[in-house]
Each structure stands twice: as structure tokens, then as C-alpha cells.
Amino acid sequence: MTDPTRDEVDEILARWDHSREHILSILQDIQHVSPEHYVSRSAAAQVAEDLGMTVTAMYEIVTFYHMLHATPHGRHSVEICESTPCYFQGGDALQSTAAERLGIAMDEVTEDGALCVETVPCFGRCATAPNVRIDGAVHHRVSPAVLRDLIDRLVAGDRADQEQVSQHV
């Protein structure tokens, strides 16, 4: 588990003008630079101090908003839309496909921390149902086969990355 550095957090705060209005963008950017896509308490504490807020308030925000996470959330994310237009056009099958392939339930992270697969509510691409977001990129009209393939590539890519990382350490 690696946190963003203090400098990285400072840079993000400056990018958003140290403004409380942009707290959600600040926290999402912190997640982006955090390999496991979450907001740690120490990163939140740094933000809280800068913005004149409390760590408690940070935790309330992180746990309230669906796109923010307070605990490690996997190096990669597979988000399957579960709202009715997608769900009833194949979305339900995608959920079982992912669960089967990875051996975890929805909203869980794989044991090696590689992937989190979760269901998400409608993100406005209903015309191309069923939709899946992989690391933020939208994939349209996804079939179970396509999803399985996407997950395979994700897992393989992560494995390669992890090997590189462990060689450098």
C-alpha cells in the first residue's frame, strides 16, 4: 500500500486552488495517483489541514460518495452498470461472468489487490447498453465473452506491472 507523497497532494491542492468547492475533484485526483485508488487517512489529513476542515469531515465525504474509497480499492477497476436499461439488456449476465471469472462477489477486491469489480448506477450511456467501465474507459454493448477477454487482459497486464515493480524494489 503506497500513499501519494506529500508533494503530490500539495500539487493537487494547488491545481484546484485550495478550494473546498473542489474537494471531490481533489480527492478523486488523490485516488488517481494512489496505486490502489483510495484516499488514505494521512492523505486526507493533509487535505483537511490545507482546507481548514477536519479529518472527520474528510471521512464523511469519502464514505458518502460512491466514487471515493477509504480503503484499498484494487489497482484496476471493472464497473458494471446495474441500472435497469443495462441490467435488462445483458447487464445481469455480465455480473455473473465477472464474479465467476475472478472468484469474488460484486463490490469486492481480488486477494492480490489487482482488481475491484463492482456494480455502479447509471452513468448516462444507456443507448449502448450494457455498458462497462474499465479503469474509467467506457466499453459499449459488452457481451460476456468480451468482458471475460477484457478482464483477462487486465489481469495479465497487472501481473506484468507487478513483476516489474518487484524487480525494481
Binding site: R41, A44, T54, V55, T56, A57, M58, Y59, E60, T63, F64, A70
Partner: protein, 942 residues
Amino acid sequence: MSNTMAPNPIRIDGEQAGLAGAEPTRTVGVVIDGRAHDVPEGLTVLQACRALGIEIPTLCEMRDLAPDGSCRMCMVKITQRGRTAMKISCAEPLSEGMEIVTMDDEIFESRRFILDLLCSNHEFDCFRCAANSDCRLQDYSMQYRIDRTDFPDGRFIGHKVDSSNPFLTFHADRCIMCRRCVRACGELQGRNVIALTQRGFDTQMSTSWEMPWELTNCESCGNCVSVCPVGALEAKDHQRGYRDWQVEDKVVTTCPHCGVGCQLELQVRGGRVVGVEPAYGPANRGILCVKGKFGSYKFASSSDRLTDPLIKENGEFRKAGWDEALDLIADRMKAIIAKDGPDAIAGFSCSRAPNEDNYMFQKMMRAAIGTNNVDNCARVCHSASVTGLATTLGSGAMTNTIRDVTHDVDAILLVGSNTTEAHPVIGAQIRAAVRAGAKLIVVDPRRTDLTSMAELHLPIRPGTDIAFANAMVNIIIANGWADEAFIAQRTEGFEALREIVAEYEPEKVARLCHIPVADLYRAAEIYAKAERAPIIYCLGVTEHTSGTQNVMSLSNLAMVVGKYGRPGCGINPLRGQNNVQGACDMGCEPHNLPGYQKFDAPGVMDKFEGVWGRALPRGIGLRATQVFGAAAEGRVKGLFIFGEDPMVTDPNTAHVRAGLEALDLLVVDELFMTPTAELADVVLPGSAYVEKEGTFSNTERRVQRVRKAVDAPGNARLDTWIFAEVMRRMGYPETLETAADIMDEIALVDPDFGGISHARLDAGESLQWPCSTRDHPGTPIMHVGAFKRGLGYFYPTEYQEPNEVPDEDYPILMSTGRMLYHYNNGAMTHRTEGLTRIASQSYIQINETDARALGIAQGDLVKVSSRRGAIETQAWVGDRVGEGEAFMTFHFPSGNPNVVANDATDPLCFIPEYKVCAIRVEKTADAPTPGRLSGLHEPALL
């Protein structure tokens, strides 16, 4: 956390500042449950119903806070402009012509539905739950006929229990999500420990990042426990010790710790106080601090309470009967008087004891013994305020009220006060004031909890208060911010001060105080320009050899901008002990009779001699700080100490010991065998605040009732009885018995208390002296229209250096003070286990730069020495203190800084210079746990 951004536009609290009479309120005509009513405008439907005695159930509603609107229990039917709808009554403003139905079948069903839902997500642990029989869910479920939930076997919130805090336990599976704890912690206490996490069904009160409670910054005030309507938050003592139906008596009394004067409701069972709930008093408004909630009763039933008189024979104590002990005291005193005169006897009264006790004590000293050598511990804390403000204003007390100076103010100038630790409930109200937009200026050499939310922190060098205040006045005059009209009409002595402060150029003073000059200007501007800005100060100002002048320089500052005699202003010393104000009011001072009346003022002596039936001594007596020296020199031979522990609390312990050991007779009236009592010839077992009737005067001059809840243990007796017995044996026929009778005599002799009686207080009146007659409503704000002495006096204050400043041998400047979890000598607080779990060992705060130079790391054991002595303690290294400065508390026997502190005193009021002495710090051993403090729970420290 409250989610309503703006405060509810409806004013919930109709309190006035107490100046003008209240304006008549307009009314609106409404129909409630079929009956027409005229109700004051500006109320919510809920408030109106409550005022009319119509009950409406609530779960999330909290007094003094904006409506939350989350529980939905208070739903009623409202018909307005032809349309009927179900609405929550807590947030619905009344309007003309409204028709309200508070109960019918539909409303009943809806409320029942809500309870049904809550029951479906609640663990029924009633058998083990502290709230069993004191639970809103139980009460309402019975009223709305819930036998079992209609949603069994559904999703459940989960069984999380956190009992890591010493005082309380949190059960997530009992929580009904009323959010009162979050709001108490966030909006009332301002500590923000409890988070309202997640959303939807998974919404849960928790700590940030699910930390164990004991690792949070929780200060254990217990307000969350007090507001929880069910048993989700329980006090451990409550859970283990009693249930509501077992409580035999609930007694409302006043807290025995600090000068805030919070109202407590003692829970009595089996002859002991087993718990405390907050009562709603004007000063505390329903909240308490850790000492009030959890540390105010265990000590009273501690097994090491003194239960019998003790007489020392051959260096050992033996038990004795009351007659033997009292006769011995009287005989020995008579012997001393016969040989050396009555002024060879002195007395220290107890500033934690009620007014009535104090009155009887000084009466004993004056009428029965015949000396004015009586004093109390105000000598060492706020005597500078008493003397200083009496000189400049005519009265030495806080000018405004607690609520007034923390509510609806634009700025607060806080000088030498670590309020969230020394007066926690006022500190919480200051946090709320800052949240509401008040600009807080903190003048304190240390970085304290409040400095983190301050607009400005001025860490002036200890001892430079007068220079600071004079420079502020200089800036105010130079910029035309002075209140010319006020100065002209209501003060005298301004020209002399103007000449003096001209020398105090901001640049020069900023260098002396080592603060940025820009901050000095800014502070002056904020304070001067604010419409409502009080000066609130404490012992950081008074405990200096220039303490009296320090106080007067602040009084000058407020006077220059005309901030007296109106709401949200004034000069406000925070009195330390629960009744140190009272001890002074009752005349336990060598230069004052009760009510600060002077021996040589016209008519005063006649009055007292008339009422007491005795010729009385007229010379000013010895101050307490002078007594030890006088004893060592043989001028004082007998000393009666009532409820004080100078061996622990007075500076220069060696000097104190020398004095006490030189006495022929030392009598100590105490609750416990303290270090001072160890040295006594006779020890008398007195009674604690839970065992007597009486009154305390809090720092805002409010006289509040102390009520008996339990009997004193063993043969311990009421202190008023003890003094009366001594008086009788000394030949003075004292007849006063009950506290109410004593107060009646006080009213007779003290014009300020002229209208105060137990009868009025018990009838529900809340009185702040001056209260001269039976009809007088009391005086919230003083010096309205005119000062007590007529014109306000600008005292020509000049900076002077402290008595002892750092030098080559002793290079560090040390201050002493308090911390949140203990009170002074710790006699009461060390006897509460939870408090000692948090803090049980002494420490010295030193600056990290100094520490590095001295090779000292966090937690290392160190020797602290001065010209007066040396102690061992541990080092708390950081940035709480500036370079070359240090700070210690005096709560811990293992390392009491009073051994090294300087007993040099102020020439006007004889207060010792606790806040400045010169020390040397040397490392003696490594920290037992590297990098950590011992005996201190670090997350809980402020």
C-alpha cells in the same frame, strides 16, 4: 454533522442580554387539535405545542440546535391555505390561520411505521443495556404498540462494539441514527470526533477511518452519551452500576471543579452518587466536560476518605472523637492568643467550598479568633483581578456573562487562557463562537488547542503582557479607533495613560514580545473595530509579579474602545475554582470583609460589629503567600487550613514546608490525607459538595445551588458545623445552623447579596450579584451607564521585567498551568480511574530546537532544576512552547513544578509568579518506550 447550512431563521432561544426589558411579542392565531390558540410569533409548530403542553414525540431534536428533520417522528397534519399535508413540526414555522392536528389514526400509523423500521434494525440488548428503562425507543414502542417488527430477518446494520474509551462504549447495533451524538460532538463540543459515515442503509456513526475510539482525539466530555436517546452510547459506570429505576434520587447541583459552574444532575443509589447527567444551566446549557460528567463523584465515595478526626501524637496520627479534637484546637488557639495575640493565627479558606462555608470560616477567624489573617487560594490565581479591576472599575469580577461573551460576538480577545483545558465548557462555547464566525485572537506564549482555530495567535514572550496591552492602546489611539465620547464621559486618567503608551511603539514592543508587528496591528484593528468583542482572560495574565498591573493594562484596553456596560463586551476573568469567586465574595481575604467592604469605609464596621455582636479587628491581615514566611519567622504560630493543599499547589515547596513545620498548631480540615494534612497536628474530616447544602458563585457572579445528595462517610461532619463548634469553644456564641440561615445573614451584611436567598434560588430564579433586594432580578452585565466606582480609571501601567529571567545558569523560562483531565492537586481527579488512565505522570513541554541542543528526545527522563529546588519528570518535545520556554502542570505528585517555581509576589496583590521562572533541563535517562510519553494517552491530549 448538521446538514442545514444556515441556522434556522426561527429564533429558538428568547434570552435577552438582561439589559432592557423584553419587547412584547406579536402573536398568531392558530387552531391546534380543534382548539383556537394565540401563540407568540416566531415559534415552530413543535415549540408551540410543547408550550401548550401537547406532547409530540421526537428523536433527533436537540435543544439549542437547528432542527435536523431526520427522524420524522414529529409529523403532524397541517392545513394551510386550503391544503393539508403531513409535515414535520420541528421545522415548520407557525403562521396565521394554520390548522394543526397532532394525532389521529393516520399520524399514529406513520409514527408507528417509523418505530417499526427502527426496531427492525436494532439489537434488543435491553437486559444488558444502560438505557434499559431510560430509552426513547422503549417508551415510544410501548406508546405506539409495537410488539414485533413487520420486517424481521431483513438486512441488519451489524454488531460493532467499541469500548476502548475509558468512560464510554459505543454499540453500532443499537444506534437509531438520530445523529444527536454527531451534532453534540460537532456543534456543541466542537471536537468533531464522531463521523456520520456512508449513506443509505449502511449509514453509521463511526470514527474517522474506523479508528478505535481511544485513538481518536476524543476528549471524553461524555456529551454524546448524555444526548443518546437509546443505549448506543453508554457510560461504563452506568452500564455496570445502575439502571434508571434503581436511582433513588436525582439531585441538581453545581459542579465542584472549575469556575464555569455547570449544572449537574446527580444520580443517587444506595447512599452513593453513581452517575451524573447534565442539567441545563445558564452557564453550561446542557453540556459538561470530562471532569463534570465522569470525574465529579467517584472521589466522594473513595475508600480513603477521612472519616474521623485525627490527632498527631509522637509523629503518628491516631483517631479521636470530635469533642477531644475540637477542644484541643480551641485550647491551643487560646494559648497562642494569650501569648502572641490573635494575629499569630491565620486561616486559609477553601475556594471549593460553598459560600456559606466560606462565610462561616471568615466569621470564625474575625469574630471568634479576632484576626484578619484569612485568605483563600484566589491569592495565587486571581487576586490580581480582584485587586486590579476593583481599582479600575470598582469591582473585581467578570463584567458580562458567559453566554453573552461567547454568543453572537464579532471577535474575542483571549489572553492567557487555555480555555478548552481549564474551563472546558466555556472553551466549547468559544469553539462554537468561532464556528459561527467570531474572529478569535489568542494571546498565549504556547500553542494551545484554540490557537488552531484562531484568526490570530500572538505567542508573546511570558511576562510581556503590559507592553503588549500598552502597544495595542498606542495603535488604537494613533489610528483614531478610540471611543472619544466614552473616554470623555465615563473615565478619568486618560491623559496620563496616553503619555505612557506613546513610548510603546509597536515595532519596539513587537520585538520585545517576539511577535510580528503586523500581527500586533491586526489584533488591535480587529478588536477595536468589532462591534461586540469581549476580553476573556485567565491566569496567564494574573500569575506574575506584575499581575495586578497586567490586569489593569487589559482593563485600560477595553476602556479605550468603550467596550464596557453593553452586551458582548467587557473584561472577563475566568475564575479557576468552582467557588473561588465565592470565597472572595464572602470576604475570605485579609483586606476585605464580605462583599469587598473595607474596614475603613463609613458604616461598615458598625454594621458588622452590630450583626456579629463583637468588636472586630481593623488592620489588614497577612496574605496567604506571606504566611509561610511569617510562620518560618515565628510571627504566625497557628494556622487553620480548610480544604487547601499548599504543599502541592503553592510555589517553592521548600519554603512552604519550612513555614508549616515551624507552626505550633496546624489544623487541616480536609477530605483526604493530602501532603499538607500529613504535616498537621489535627486533621478534621470535612464534607464534600454532594454532602451539603449551600451555594457556589461561578465566574459570572452567578450564585447557584449546591444540594445534598448523600451523607458524609463515617464521622465526617459539615464544615459549617465544625467552624461553629470552634467558634463556640472560643467563646463566641454562634447560633447559625442551616446553609439557608447562613445565606440570610450574608444577605444582611453584604449589599451585593442583599436579595439572594435559598428560597429564591430554589424557586427557580437565577441570580447574578449585585442583587440588592428581594425584588431585584440580579445583574447580568455590570457597569451599565456608570462604573461601580463612578468613572472608570485608566491606571498608568508600565512594563516591568519578571522577577527572575533566564540567564546562563538557568537558561529556560518555565510557566506552570493546568491540563484538561486533572484539577489542580488532583485530590479529586486522581481518584477517578478513567482520568488516571489518560494521564498519570508529569511532563515538561519543551521546544524541539532546545531539545535537540540538549540531546533530549520525546519521553526521555529529565531533571528540572531552579534556584529553589529540582524535580524529575519526562520531556514532551514539540512546538507547543517557543524556543527558550517550557511548561509544566502541577497535577502529578511525581514531578511537581511548584518545587522549582518562583514565589516572588506582586507588590499590590501578592500573587506569585507561577508563569515565569528560570530553569535548567538535563537529561537523566532514555524514554522507557522510545519516542513515547509514559503514563499519558497521547491521542487524548489537547
